[in-house]
């Protein structure tokens, strides 16, 4: 078996032409290029078409609730801080139902990769607005348009203290593979904002629409410059959309500050726990 076959899970059920097919190929390719083994990596998925990517990768998967992939990822890393964890979901899951968790997961700088497949629409529930839909986006649930301003995920991640922020487009497969790898190699919360067209419910932000606008960042951009990164994020939805690593810095990760996470993972140490571990504590109550 080739490596890609090793990682091949259940057949995905997306619409033909969905950007998530490309993302799935790229994720498997990145895992192979990083020599990760399927039984070593854990996916935490939410709910929505994007999160179903988890089922199509043959690897450990916790497919939880809508909006709650990042709290699950927090638990995974605290129980096993040595396992690579990828949180996979879409714009509705990460920014609407899970908005609060997104803010705090990024603040924590947990050593995980967040793969956010953003198609600016709700696919699973058939076409309602998402937090990233433009104000004039209309659907049966929003016949007069959304009204609200679209959320800017890269900017949100930057102001929450993210240590790795990158944007890409599913039509640029080589770049997606490269950025998934760099996100997984980065020590800290890596946020990868992946623009992905929805062929059924988003007739504006199509494959061609993105293709025309995306421009890979050149060497003139300094990823250590947070202000420059914020400016790039603010430039989103202009006529050109910069892709690549907006921002990357090293900062201690969440796992570093917890004394309990030094050494072997807690899940592994638990195998040897005996009730007498409590005994030395009794003296403090005597």
């Amino acid at each position: 078996m080739t490596c890609i076959q090793d990682f091949t899970g259940h057949d995905p059920q997306w619409c033909p032409g969905c950007g998530n097919f490309d993302l799935l190929d790229c994720v498997k390719q990145a895992l192979c290029e990083l020599n990760v083994e399927p039984q070593r990596v854990i996916f935490a998925a939410g709910i929505g078409q994007a999160s179903k990517l988890g089922f199509s990768v043959r690897a450990n998967l916790f497919n939880g609730l809508h909006g709650r992939a990042l709290p699950v990822a927090l638990g995974l890393k605290m129980a096993n801080h040595t396992a690579p964890v990828l949180a996979v979901s879409g714009d509705g899951c990460f920014y609407a139902e899970g908005g609060n968790h997104f803010i705090h997961a990024v603040r924590r700088n947990l050593n995980i990769a967040i793969l956010a497949s953003d198609n600016r629409v709700y696919g699973l529930t058939k076409g309602q607005a998402s937090p990233t839909s433009p104000p004039d986006f209309a659907s049966r649930a929003n016949p007069e348009g959304v009204g609200a301003q679209p959320l800017n995920p890269a900017l949100l991640a930057l102001v929450c203290g993210a240590t790795f922020v990158a944007r890409t487009f599913t039509g640029s497969k080589a770049e997606v593979v490269d950025l998934v790898k760099r996100a997984m190699q980065h020590r800290g919360t890596s946020f990868l904002d992946i623009m992905s067209p929805c062929v059924s419910f988003n007739k504006v932000n199509t494959f061609a629409w993105y293709k025309k606008r995306v421009r890979p960042l050149g060497p003139e951009h300094d990823p250590a410059n947070r202000e420059a990164a914020i400016k790039l994020a603010l430039a989103a939805d202009e006529e050109t959309i910069p892709t690549g690593v907006y921002y990357q810095v090293e900062r201690p990760v969440f796992e570093d500050h917890l004394g309990a996470l030094r050494g072997a993972p807690i899940a592994e140490r638990t195998l040897g726990y005996k009730p007498e571990r409590v005994r030395p504590l009794f003296e403090r109550f005597m």
């Binding site: 998967l61 709650r68 709290p71 990822a73 638990g75 129980a79 409590v278 504590l281």
Partner: protein, 570 residues
């Protein structure tokens, strides 16, 4: 005098807790039994606070009403608590706080007693505690030792010295007429622990192998978070203050899936937020412990008061049908042993386990025999043997017991898929009709198996008399009140429920069958244990002795309510 009831009262920030801690330490070191209840409001400064300290030379697990010694740290406390002072009781305060009170039971200490440096409000607590310990005959050195143990490390040497001088001057002030040596059998060699309910619970979780704990600060559960966070680095427990209770339980589920023993703790308002994830634990068959330190509801309710109002919520919360378990510690010993056992229940049956405690138990501090960790076992339930090559685990294999062997993902060659959607045996989502029925039946079988191994209620006293059904913090007052009634010739017993859901129908029916009549005694208005009993066993109670005032049952109150059911002849 079989026991002694001391109340220390004052404004928040006046040192009520410090004074009680010093006194508690002294009594603990004398081998005496102590039961302490604190009554506080949810604020840092101001507001009326008091600690009720019951002392005896036999184990005590409930609060009593009449006060033998009242230590009033301010005038308001004197006015509020004098009506509760026993006819032969004594009240202690500073001269400045006596106001116009001219009660012959009051002893006021001159405001300028002790060195000049100790004539400020900071020393009122230690001075009045000195009056008390002198009056009841404890050697001054015992008090000095207790002050040193409790506060010595925190105080500057000169401040500590002022405390000693204040103790000395106060001790000399107490007149011989006020000295009554108590008839307690002291036993300084008797090594005991002095723990709050929540501390006992935290220790139990540690004995049971907890690895990850999550909470969002909420009274009265916060002290579990604090205790585990304090011990976490040295014992190896990763503790995180989550952004909300939704995160707390989802994170605990993630940690449990990854192979840690994990728990999330909160109070009723947080359980409401966790409800979504309770179902997730049920659907994914993830073993997790949820601690609900109950307080009065609904909505914000009363943050620092007590209630047993969440039993039916714990039994039924979450949409759809899935198995869960509910256990409730009846005292501090249960907090430890049942806290450890909760993980075994969760992992053997792979479901969410609610551990329901309540403010009255969570915050009550009492002396206990040193916990015996040899009584704790760790049983992680069925684990799949390692495969020779990496392979996908049939995580939800249809088995006779309904429990499918687990594996710890990323620590094993098994590839483990856990799914909150309906899923097939390998954890892949499907709406297939036959599969749905198989998986629902499989999960439901776990409930039957768990019920079969759960215990029925423990019957204390006359099984064939009038039986009072209790759980949680009402157990202590009920047991003592029933003993008093039996001493007066009444035929009464108490049925203590610890394994509340799923109920073992046969054992429960057998235990309750001989009873003349059944009454629930609960800190709620609707008799939730009675309703659950009816649903689970078909047994109906004759009535409910309830209480929605948010306050702990005292022994006298429990006795009065129980006596009313006996024909009013008491």
């Amino acid at each position: 005098m079989p026991d002694l009831h001391i109340v220390i009262a004052g404004a928040a920030g006046q040192g009520v807790q410090s004074a009680a801690a010093i006194l508690g330490k002294l009594l603990l070191r004398q081998g005496l039994h102590v039961f302490t209840v604190q009554d506080y409001q949810s604020r840092v400064r101001g507001g009326h606070n008091f600690m009720s300290i019951r002392v005896a030379d036999y184990p005590v697990a409930a609060a009593v009403d009449p006060i033998d010694y009242l230590i009033a740290l301010n005038e308001e406390s004197l006015h509020l608590h004098l009506p509760e002072l026993a006819p032969r009781g004594t009240a202690l305060c500073m001269e400045a706080d006596r106001g116009r009170v001219s009660d012959p039971r009051l002893r006021a200490l001159p405001d300028d007693i002790g060195p000049a440096g100790a004539n400020n409000p900071k020393y009122v607590g230690v001075k009045l505690v000195t009056m008390l310990t002198e009056m009841v005959g404890f050697a001054k050195q015992l008090l000095i030792d207790a002050v040193r143990q409790e506060m010595g490390a925190r105080l500057k040497p000169e401040i500590f010295q002022l405390n000693l001088e204040a103790i000395d001057a106060t001790a000399h002030f107490v007149g011989d007429a006020d000295r009554h040596t108590l008839p307690f059998r002291v036993d300084p060699a008797h090594r005991q622990m002095f723990v709050e309910g929540n501390e006992a619970l935290a220790l139990g979780l540690i004995a049971g192998g907890i690895g990850c704990y999550y909470g969002y600060p909420m009274s009265p559960s916060t002290s579990i978070l604090n205790t585990l966070a304090e011990f976490g680095p040295e014992v190896g427990i990763a503790v995180e203050q989550a952004e909300d209770e939704i995160c707390a339980l989802n994170a605990a589920i993630g940690a449990a899936y990854a192979g840690a023993r994990a728990a999330a703790g909160t109070s009723g308002p947080g359980v409401s937020l966790m409800t979504e994830a309770v179902g997730l634990a049920g659907a994914t068959e993830t073993p997790v412990v949820i601690i609900d330190a109950q307080r009065p509801g609904p909505a914000t309710g009363m943050a620092t008061r007590t209630e047993q109002g969440d039993l039916l919520h714990a039994a039924h919360c979450g949409h759809g049908e899935f198995p869960r378990a509910i256990v409730a510690p009846a005292d501090h010993y249960d907090c430890f042993y049942l806290g450890a056992e909760a993980f075994n229940i969760a992992e053997r049956w792979q479901l969410p386990v609610f551990l329901l405690t309540d403010q009255a138990l969570a915050d009550a501090q009492r002396t206990v025999e040193v916990f015996d960790d040899a009584r704790v076992t760790i049983d992680r339930g069925p684990i799949a043997p390692e495969p020779p090559q990496p392979a996908v685990l049939r995580r939800y294999e249809d088995t006779p017991s309904g429990v499918s062997p687990r594996a710890y993902p990323a620590l094993s060659k098994w590839i483990v898929s856990a799914d909150g959607h309906e899923h097939n045996e390998v954890g892949h989502l499907t709406d297939d009709r036959a599969n749905r029925v198989r998986q629902m039946d499989k999960r439901r079988r776990k409930l039957a198996g768990l019920a079969a191994e759960f215990a029925g209620p423990e019957i204390v006293g006359d099984a064939d008399g009038v039986l009072f059904l209790v759980w949680g913090s009402t157990t202590g007052p009920a047991l003592e009140a029933a003993a008093r009634l039996r001493a007066r010739g009444e035929r009464v017993g108490v049925a203590v429920f610890r394994h509340l859901y799923p109920m073992n129908k046969d054992k429960t029916r057998a235990a309750l069958a001989p009873a003349a009549r059944l009454y629930t005694l609960e800190n709620n208005g609707e008799g939730q244990l009675g309703q659950l009993l009816l649903l689970e066993t078909g047994l109906a109670t004759h009535g409910h002795l309830g209480n929605s005032d948010g306050r702990v049952f005292t022994v006298a109150e429990a006795e009065r309510r129980m006596a009313e059911t006996l024909g009013g002849a008491s």
